[in-house]
């Protein structure tokens, strides 16, 4: 077993131990906090597909996070006010069913990623970062100025959406549901990294000319990765909005993009459990240090600086050492 696997296992155990303890001593707030970590980690896992595997530094993943959030907000708000979203030519009603909301969230954010990616991926480097940022901000201002769905105030949902067979308002049940989603996605992304597609994507990241020379078009590979990445982050957005029962334009803001990127960098770029470690560290710091001082982000900044300067592989990279060549 490699060291990274050992560390992943340790993270996994912690992920189970913390909520188990919180449940035993009846601390529902810790359960909610853990759920938040799981959901933000999921958003990071999504970004990691583009950023880690594909080397695509997207500074606009808040776009997909927000679209996922608004997919939930819009569908649920129509369902709770019993007003259809559209009557003609098709009758489309809102819904309070999570599986349907997730599907819509993933499809709409995938579509957005296709459009944003198709344009942004024609550039690279700093221009790519700036264009993705611009798209994210565009959606942010759009959400602010769209009064039908709350504008600046956002949308509140009274009751968390339902999942067949579960009481999602129970913190533990919602946490388990989010965990299951997170683990499925982590498993799929580990398969993706090793697949033929992953090989081509990583090749395109390291040397685009190399990939072209063997007859693979980097653009198509990157665009596909960007779409998958956006869909996963969109799903996380829907879960996050459901956790808070609230969605606001903040989900679209560039701070959100930055935070998702910080999870990935703190935990370890391209590491399978990197976003989980990063999100846990981030939320942990926010919770513990935030209680001491409202300037807790100073410490976050210092940590990030330390990681970037001294621990390029992030938390997991530092603990696990260099990635070993695997057969």
């Amino acid at each position: 077993m490699t060291r990274e696997r050992l560390i992943n296992l340790l993270i996994l155990l912690l992920m189970i131990a913390v909520p188990a303890w919180a449940y035993a001593v009846d601390e529902p707030f810790i359960l909610t906090l853990t759920t938040k970590v799981a959901i933000l980690a999921l958003a990071g896992v999504g970004l990691n597909i583009a950023l880690g595997l594909g080397g695509l530094i997207s500074f606009g993943h808040a776009a997909f996070f927000g679209i996922g959030g608004y997919a939930m907000g819009i569908l649920a708000s129509h369902a709770q006010s019993y007003t259809p979203m559209m009557e003609w030519p098709l009758l489309i009603e809102g819904t309070k069913s999570m599986p349907v909301i997730w599907l819509v969230a993933m499809l709409t954010s995938a579509l957005a990623a296709l459009l944003i990616g198709a344009l942004s991926l024609r550039t690279s480097g700093v221009y790519f970062i700036m264009i993705t940022l611009a798209f994210g901000q565009m959606l942010y201002y759009f959400a602010i100025s769209w009064p039908a769905y709350g504008g600046e105030d956002g949308l509140s949902i009274y009751v968390r959406n339902g999942f067949p067979g579960l009481n999602t308002l129970d913190p533990l049940q919602y946490l388990i549901l989010c965990y299951v989603v997170l683990f499925i996605v982590i498993f799929l992304s580990s398969r993706l990294a090793k697949s033929a597609f992953g090989l081509a994507l990583g090749g395109a990241r390291q040397n685009a000319e190399r990939v072209q020379t063997v007859g693979i078009a980097p653009y198509r590979v990157r665009l596909t990765a960007f779409v998958i990445s956006g869909a996963v982050t969109g799903l996380a957005g829907a879960l996050y909005a459901d956790l808070n029962r609230f969605v606001s334009p903040t989900m679209f803001s560039w701070h959100t993009s930055g935070e998702i990127m910080v999870f990935v960098i703190l935990g370890g770029v391209a590491r399978l459990f990197g976003p989980v470690a990063g999100a846990a560290l981030f939320i942990g710091m926010e919770h513990v240090l935030g209680g001491i001082s409202e300037f807790w982000q100073v410490f976050l900044g210092l940590t990030l600086l330390a990681v970037v300067l001294f621990a390029r592989g992030g938390l997991i990279g530092t603990l696990a050492g260099r990635e070993v060549a695997h057969d």
Binding site: K194, G198, L199, T213, V214, G215, A217
Partner: protein
């Protein structure tokens, strides 16, 4: 005369006032090694880029496998079977040796959009990749990181990746660059056997290698081909002697 596999017809390319290619016409026939030589700055790399598709000529036509490929990009030409190696190794350095060759096999096989199966365990890809590695003698380094290879081994790996494409023609930009005498001799021997599989357009500075390998030589000076012919013809060509080789080189 047999039909050429690869040919250029009067291609021109200028960068501002600099004419990097002036009416360049050359062809690559089945089974031959055609060496392209010329002093530094003669436009050899520019010509190779146009043939490979990473640079568009201003005028003229490039034909490959009986088709006009001038409008096709690098990817499309690679898919048709144009195997290219670079002057400066273009490999995925963070990948293992095997992964680099697998990438080539993947390009040949054509189905990149598979998201689940482990590419390292794909029997078809792996067989193709290992065969190519065995041919250049790098099979025992398969699990090493590419970045850990010596310069000479990287050059061999580039050739191995090109082999996985089962090319119809090779275009090699200075494969001997930076190799020691021994490395050059080994690669020369290998390329000698390769011409039966597919003809090679070889850009090379190493005159020992050129004279050992070439069936025909073209001399490029200031973007123009001043002579094409057998080794003997080139050696005796007075224009070549003054422009490039110098009296003592031959």
């Amino acid at each position: 005369m047999t039909r050429p596999v690869l040919s250029t017809h009067r291609i021109c390319k200028s960068f501002g006032a600099l004419e990097a290619s002036k009416d360049v016409t050359l062809d690559l026939r089945p089974g031959e090694i055609h060496a392209l030589i010329g002093p530094n700055g003669a436009g050899k790399s520019t010509l190779i880029k146009q043939i490979a598709g990473s640079l568009q000529p201003d005028r003229g036509e490039i034909r490959f496998m009986g088709r006009d490929v001038s409008a096709l990009d690098t990817v499309a030409r690679a898919r048709m079977g144009l195997g290219r190696t670079f002057q400066i190794s273009a490999l995925a350095m963070e990948y293992t040796v095997l992964q680099n060759v697998l990438l080539g096999a993947l390009g040949t096989q054509g189905n990149v959009f598979r998201f689940f199966g482990n590419a390292l365990k794909d029997k078809g890809l792996r067989a193709m990749a290992e065969e190519a590695l065995a041919r250049v003698g790098l099979l025992d380094r398969a699990t090493d990181l590419t970045g850990a290879l010596s310069h000479g081994q990287r050059r061999l790996l580039e050739v191995a990746v090109a082999l996985t494409l089962t090319p119809k023609a090779f275009v090699m930009d200075e494969p001997m660059a930076g190799l020691g005498t021994e490395g050059s001799a080994r690669l020369t021997e290998f390329l000698d056997g390769l011409r039966v599989q597919a003809p090679i357009l070889l850009v090379e500075h190493d005159m020992d290698a050129v004279f050992a390998l070439a069936d025909r030589i073209s001399v490029l000076v200031y973007g123009q081909i001043i002579a094409t012919g057998s080794i003997a013809e080139i050696r005796e060509n007075p224009e070549v002697r003054t422009a490039y080789l110098g009296d003592d080189a031959i």
